[in-house]
Assembly symmetry: C2
Homo-oligomer: 420 residues x 2
């Protein structure tokens, strides 16, 4: 992409009330735009990042036999009445609206009820189980406050996976597969080292659920970590009783702030009982289907990456999800600079190196470097007269370290090694 | 995909009130599910088709320099008041809702206003133009009736592209590029031969807009076609005055029913005037930005393909958007059948032939063939004892013709030729 064609620009001014670091950096760099409090548009660079996160999650969902679907946001009351969650007291984040004939509708904040209802059409026998279905779908939640940028919004794409099994063993087995897939996802997203599988409250059907908590000094959550035993516990269940179950004491844990980037949950038969999702076993008996749910918010994950991967100059994208791998900076207005930059740009594009090229003729070097740091692509390549004379490029990693001078003929090999 | 693992099943019963052919076929084959009237979920097979349509459109949007973004569904009144379209009388398809503090919100039925507002942040000078931005985003429209299956729904993904130029010439040039891209899209989707670029009403700023109308006997629209001059005119402007402008007479046209699958529209300065989107020209003067809009509904397109590509047995998917290229049918319960089928399945998958394998052991051949016809993959390969004895596969095209017997060692070459 030639930066002269990219319609977004970086900015120094921010909308009022924008207090979170993630939205400040993403707004300044032109990745997102604020439509209303708690609802952000994704602009070209931001859309690329979000899509890369989605694709990594999708690959791992397919790898654990997830079947991709897309349910509707619009929902009728009848679907939610069996669990009593149509009631605004029970589910306090509904946006409600209505058809022209006056019939009430709601915008789904989650999808256990409609998917359980849907599965009644397809699950009859033990032979139909297990089933795993997931979606990337826009959820709506009428949050009272929306001050955390893209970490907690009123409209967001959610990856929600649901498992349907015959019994507790089916659920337990899949739960472990999903947990391993989540570990892999956060590794691939560059958050692996600071993301903890954290024990959290389990609800009705099991003692614990698991949250994936990423350490972050601005996080809303508080977790307690024992590094030696690799145990993390959410504040909500960090009680003496629970601690002792792990054979540890309160002082064996370190308190850390964190952001919840994923959550896996054994639902048991809560929804299948309420909505009547049963199957006939080999012996002819009828049993409720045993369910699990597994969620990741791609935009929340993106926000968490921004909160944890930055410096005073801007964002530092992990290579797997950077909007572009390489940012070429052309310095100087000479024709040879433009021509040599274009040659490099075409070479990289032809070799599948995703490249943003700052080809803007009337922007000074300082502004170009500042933009490049703010946008945060992993590798910056500077094309200047001096470097061209020496038949080399000046290369700098956004993550830090000194500039290196790479002979022109070695640039592809250098990048292949950096980006592998 | 092994069919035994696919969670959907074909069905003979339909929800009440399902009168459109597209939804009848898609519901019976398990591609979609009806959540409420006018809102359908996409199940694994349907989601694959929808995604393929989206990806073809995306490639062609990128090829005409579209930059992909994603705006929000949630909208505040202030964005829409400058054009007076917040008013339910002026825009009669709003779903309205509200925040907990009582502030009104709406669910965007289209995005001219928010995108024009957004562009005010980035467009200042003639150097910033032209700009082309598009999205695949879920629109909500409070339609009074919803009886056309996935052709007209209350919630649907829309591809909407908007162009922003300096003047009429910029607009006219891009309009022609977009028109050519649309022709290419409908060609790639298998609708090229029956889709007409049709003159339609142009609104305030130009005489005509263009619709892409696909001939279909159940279509809601009526168009008039002159094959010789390759002219099609929508009923709404099929007047003597207009006809004479083309140097033709009423009797030179044939009346046909059709479905509108795309629409391109010169907006001119309607929205930039109302919302104050101006730029400074080279001579220092300020001008309003000249806009165009270009829409395709991927699900409506999918519905149109179903309406036009089917027979009494089911759907006949064009190869570019079929859920799978090949449907393998294993006949008989012998171990060798299962083993040989699996060998073939693995061979095809390894060679990027997307394959659905009907591996279900307890389903009779008649039901398997009926399912295969209903689901509609382009190529069916039958694995049976008799064929295996002769070291061949029985191959049949869904579109018609007799079965062919292909020597096993030639199957990849045969498929490469069929699917190219």
């Amino acid at each position: 992409m030639k930066q002269s064609k990219l319609f977004t620009k970086t900015s120094k001014t921010l909308p009022k009330d924008e207090v979170s670091l993630n939205s400040q950096l993403l707004l300044k760099s032109g990745f997102i735009d604020k439509e209303i409090a708690g609802a952000y548009s994704f602009l070209p660079l931001g859309h690329r990042v979000l899509n890369k996160i989605i694709n990594i999650i999708r690959e791992e969902m397919n790898a654990i036999d997830g079947q991709e679907i897309m349910l509707t946001a619009l929902q009728a009351p009848a679907t939610w009445e069996p669990t009593d969650r149509w009631d605004d007291e029970k589910m306090d984040v509904w946006f409600k609206t209505e058809l022209k004939n006056g019939n009430q509708l709601g915008l789904a904040p989650t999808h256990e009820e409609p998917l359980t209802k849907l599965m009644k059409k397809f699950i009859n026998s033990y032979k139909d189980l297990p089933v795993f279905a997931y979606q990337f779908q826009t959820k709506f939640r009428n949050e009272t406050r929306a001050k955390s940028g893209i970490l907690r919004t009123r409209e967001f794409i959610m990856k929600d996976l649901y498992s349907f099994g015959r019994n507790q063993q089916d659920l337990d087995e899949y739960y472990e597969r999903a947990k391993a897939a989540y570990v892999k996802i956060f590794d691939r997203l560059g958050l692996g080292k600071i993301t903890y599988v954290t024990f959290a409250s389990g609800g009705t059907f099991c003692k614990f659920s698991h949250e994936f908590q990423t350490l972050c000094e601005y996080g809303e959550d508080l977790i307690y970590i024992n590094e030696e035993k690799k145990i993390a516990i959410n504040r909500e269940i960090f009680t003496d009783d629970i601690i002792s179950e792990f054979g540890l004491k309160r002082e064996d844990f370190v308190e850390k702030k964190s952001i919840e980037v994923g959550n896996i949950f054994k639902l048991g038969t809560k929804f299948s009982d309420a909505l009547g999702l049963h199957y006939v076993a080999e012996n002819g008996e009828r049993f409720p289907v045993v369910m699990g749910s597994y969620g990741i918010g791609p935009a929340r994950t993106m926000g968490t990456i921004v909160e944890t991967c930055n410096d005073e100059k801007g964002i530092i994208w992990p290579k797997n999800i950077a909007p572009y791998h390489v940012h070429i900076i052309s310095l100087g207005k000479e024709d040879t600079i433009a021509a040599e930059s274009e040659k490099l740009y075409n070479l990289l594009c032809a070799n599948n190196v995703e490249t943003l090229w700052d080809d803007r003729p009337n922007v000074n070097p300082g502004a170009k470097f500042a933009d490049s740091d703010l946008i945060g692509c992993p590798i910056r390549i500077t094309v200047s007269s001096k470097n061209l004379e020496n038949k080399q490029y000046e290369v700098k990693r956004r993550a830090g370290g000194n500039a290196e001078f790479i002979p022109q003929e070695n640039i592809l090999a250098f990048l292949a090694n950096e980006l592998k």
